[in-house]
């Protein structure tokens, strides 16, 4: 009697939490400064065709997750290779996320706590959530997305500290730069949701994927724009002076005398959103491994992926500077996974659909002719 499928609102919450997981790092850009909100809008517009691609893939292969679709389109061998690529991508993404979280806590809050322990917490809790089933990620997301209320609260609480003249002049940067940053914004938080397609096989079949993605996208864009405006208004246009501008902006906000310096709540925000994103990545990688090894239960691989993630996390970056310099290169390196592969899969799926409908119609015509004579 209990419906173990993910509902529409839960999927929206997962997507929303997934995208806002990078809110702390992706909230500003040093090249466009105060026009970042324009880039956010353009990224959202650029993402719309990708939503249509996802929707079409799900409609052609209902009830199947990403890896099964790849197998069906490209055949077993190439499909397995593509699955392996996605697994590596998921593990890399999860370790990047863990590193961001650990670095954040070490830099702004607790300088003497080793990064390893905060990372270990995130990995262990993520592994616990994933081993209990993908529905649990959805249920958690549906409850914890309310943490976004913190962001709205900081926006309204910081009104008296904001100077909206910092937003002027609008369109200060030239259009190619804006386009370039929009492309990065498209890939870095938005395009990573290709991993959410692995969860979609658990959704109830009658749900409309386009609507789910669209609603989550609209909500996400609004929140990102609010955060970008808040940061620029409070800190001024050169928000990239700081490692984490959101943190600095919120630390300036205070309500009367008794409630001030509540920037830890931003950290909590990052932690919750990041955990959901981490769980999705971990689930995707375990599912991919179980798909390759042909085991019915993905839970056997969760712990191994978790250990790989935490080991990789320590090997990823040399130092903090390189961490921030790498972001555009990271975007470029993700293009094959997020843009090229889904488009190739979609084209392959369309070709197969045309071919199979073509053979069906030719079979019926040959059946008719003997009867006529």
């Amino acid at each position: 009697m209990s419906n173990q499928k993910i509902t529409r609102k839960q999927m929206q919450s997962i997507l929303f939490m997934f995208w806002t997981g990078s809110l702390v790092v992706a909230a500003s850009n040093k090249e466009v400064k105060q026009d970042y909100w324009i880039c956010l809008l353009i990224s959202a517009l650029l993402f719309l065709p990708i939503i249509c691609i996802y929707d079409r893939l799900i409609k052609l292969y209902p009830g199947k997750n990403l890896f099964e679709i790849n197998d069906a389109v490209f055949g077993k061998l190439v499909g397995h290779i593509i699955t392996a690529i996605y697994i590596m991508y998921a593990i890399l993404l999860a370790s990047q996320l863990t590193k961001i979280f650990a670095v954040f806590i070490r830099v702004v809050n607790m300088a003497e706590t080793p990064e390893l322990i905060t990372a270990a917490f995130m990995v262990l809790v993520g592994a616990l959530v994933v081993t209990r089933g993908p529905e649990n990620i959805a249920r958690l997301a549906k409850y914890t997305w309310l943490v976004i209320v913190i962001i709205l609260f900081t926006f309204f609480a910081g009104f008296k500290d904001m100077e909206f003249s910092n937003m002027l002049p609008v369109m200060n940067s030239d259009f190619p730069t804006i386009l370039k940053v929009s492309a990065i914004g498209l890939i870095l938080p938005l395009g990573e949701s290709v991993l959410c397609l692995t969860l979609i096989s658990n959704i109830r079949p009658e749900e409309n994927i386009k609507k789910i993605f669209l609603k989550a996208l609209v909500f996400n864009t609004i929140i990102y724009i609010i955060v970008a405006i808040r940061n620029v208004a409070i800190l001024g246009p050169s928000t990239n002076m700081y490692y984490f501008p959101s943190y600095e902006a919120v630390s300036i906000i205070s309500l009367k005398e008794f409630f001030s310096r509540f920037e830890v709540l931003i950290g909590i925000n990052l932690m919750l959103n990041g955990s959901i994103k981490f769980c999705v990545c971990l689930y995707a990688s375990s599912l991919g491994l179980s798909h390759i090894f042909k085991l019915p239960n993905y839970k056997a691989f969760t712990a191994s992926c978790a250990i790989l993630i935490i080991t990789l996390m320590q090997l990823l970056y040399q130092d903090l500077q390189q961490f921030f310099n790498f972001i555009p290169y990271g975007a470029i390196s993700s293009v094959p996974y997020e843009i090229i592969l889904p488009i190739a899969t979609w084209i392959g799926a369309e070709i197969r659909a045309r071919m199979s409908s073509g053979t069906k119609s030719s079979k019926t015509s040959t059946n008719n002719s003997p009867e006529k004579t």
Binding site: M110, F121, R139, Y143, S260, G267, I268, L272, S275
Partner: protein
């Protein structure tokens, strides 16, 4: 005479014969060293060849029933000759008992004697008659001690199965209310009864309960907790997935919502399955008083649970790791209070919480006249003197006291509340507020995944229906509670103004 064998083994191997004397010897062997067995031999006045023998356990029977319903009619029976179907004649025409059963099953006969029935044997017949004469003493119906309410019915269950079933039957008079008997426990052979309302209860839950009960293979069932630990979904989990209550109105309400109840002889506690998480916070008093006040109480209970697990952890993380979040004057006073205290906050916190748990546990076990001594020891010695001796700091005493009191507000949830308090305290001692949030995330993830007989216990996580949320955080008025909780029952309509509620 077979010596060296247990009576239960003799019962399995032997059968009744047509000779009355042999049967008498057999039953007396089975009940060897059992002096409560009473035997009464009879003969009809007209024909001494027609012999009877009655067996019953003294103290379990209502002697008046035996005298008037069995012995008197038998002695007034004056046949001309010995009838070939004497046993059937007695069962149908002579005895005045309300329940008569003819049997040759030795097991049944022994059980009947043991449980308060009378067994009638006749010379020349292999069958025995089992006649209902139960009449033992049991406790009167009173309000259960630990489930008191201010306003409402005060009938609690007793240790007798029949009385408990009658309390339920009086409240639910529809013929759809089914009660199925079964026996549990190899040696105790305890009577139990599964109660449910046909058409409302979920058939999968009923089937699952029956199959789990059949798999029980235990020596004796003395209390309902034995059963609940064996048939639980996850026996190692601290969360209760099987509900229990001692109040008749509570069980009747739960039956009406689609749950299945298990009544066991010998204990006043009745089990209900499935058990949702929100039932910890529901009290039947909520339904007997004004719904707005009841909603306030319900929210207060949920808040109390959250406080009782979070407050020590939050105090520790804010005072140690994130001091900038507290207002300046508060931090100054906390720092001043902590001046001179040698231990770090986490050690103090653990120490005081353990002391509080000891006080609570000893308070619940000590005799009433020592209660004042305990409160003096708790308040003066531990609270006041420890602070003055700078062993612990004053703010921590306040935190621990509030935590303890909040924890006592929802007594059923102590099983997970107390360990969780310590775990969250430890986690927040590691990395501050982030540790606390990770702990809460893990706790939430755990609770979301627990199921009780196939129904997830935190069902509000699924339903977007407004109707399903009516009884969780607050209780809406009865006029608005139109449907039953979605996952408990396939039949959703609880009441409708058109009057066709089913």
């Amino acid at each position: 005479m077979e010596s060296g064998k247990l009576s239960s083994q003799i019962v399995e191997e032997s059968k009744l014969t047509t000779s009355l004397t042999d049967n008498i010897v057999l039953i007396r062997t089975i009940f060897k060293n059992n002096d409560t067995l009473t035997m009464r031999q009879l003969e009809t006045p007209t024909d001494p060849a027609i012999k009877f023998c009655l067996f019953f356990s003294d103290g379990m029977v209502n002697n008046r029933l035996i005298n008037q319903d069995i012995i008197r009619p038998l002695l007034e029976y004056r046949p001309d000759k010995k009838e070939p179907d004497l046993i059937d004649l007695i069962a149908k025409n002579i005895t005045l008992s309300d329940t008569v059963e003819k049997t040759t099953d030795m097991e049944k006969i022994v059980q009947a004697i043991v449980y308060g029935d009378t067994v009638l044997l006749a010379d020349g017949f292999m069958e025995a008659l089992v006649l209902n004469t139960k009449g033992w003493q049991s406790r009167s119906i009173e309000e259960p001690e630990n489930e008191r309410i201010l306003k409402g019915p005060r009938e609690g269950f007793t240790e007798s199965l029949m009385v408990n079933l009658s309390l339920l039957r009086r409240r639910i008079r529809t013929p759809d209310f089914k009660m199925e008997y079964l026996n549990l426990g190899v040696r105790t052979k305890t009577h139990a009864c599964i109660c449910y309302i046909d058409g409302i209860a979920a058939p999968e839950v009923l089937k699952e309960l029956k199959s789990r009960l059949q798999k029980i293979n235990i020596d004796g069932i003395l209390d309902v907790n034995y059963i609940s630990e064996i048939i639980k979904d996850k026996p190692n989990s601290p969360i209760e997935t099987i509900g229990s209550s001692e109040r008749a109105d509570v069980i009747a309400a739960k039956l009406l919502e689609g749950r299945v109840a298990l009544v066991v002889d010998g204990t006043p506690v009745v089990l209900t399955v499935p058990h949702l998480f929100i039932e910890y916070f529901q009290s039947d008093e909520d339904y007997f008083i004004n719904y707005m006040f009841a909603s306030i109480n319900r929210i207060l209970r949920i808040l109390a649970f959250i406080f009782s697990i979070s407050m020590p952890a939050l105090y520790l993380s804010l005072a140690t790791f994130h001091q900038e979040m507290l207002p300046t004057s508060l931090i100054m006073s906390i720092a001043a209070a902590r001046q001179g205290v040698p231990f770090p906050t986490i050690v103090e916190g653990t120490f005081m919480l353990v002391i509080f748990e000891m006080l609570r546990e000893s308070g619940s076990r000590m005799p009433g006249n020592m209660g004042t001594a305990l409160s003096i020891v708790g308040a003066l010695v531990i609270g006041q003197a420890a602070v003055q001796a700078k062993i612990v700091s004053a703010p921590l005493i306040i935190i621990v006291a509030v935590t303890g009191i909040a924890g006592l507000m929802v007594p059923l949830i102590k099983g997970i509340g107390v360990p969780l308090r310590f775990i969250l305290l430890f986690l927040s001692g590691l990395i501050g507020l982030y540790g606390y949030m990770f702990g809460m995330l893990a706790f939430l993830a755990y609770i979301f995944s627990v199921t009780s007989f196939g129904v997830p216990i935190l069902t509000s996580a699924y339903s977007n229906d407004q109707q399903d949320r009516k009884d969780i955080l607050h209780r809406t008025s009865w006029k608005n509670m139109i449907t039953r909780p979605k996952y408990l029952s396939p039949n959703k309509i609880r009441n409708s103004s058109k009057g066709d509620s089913l």
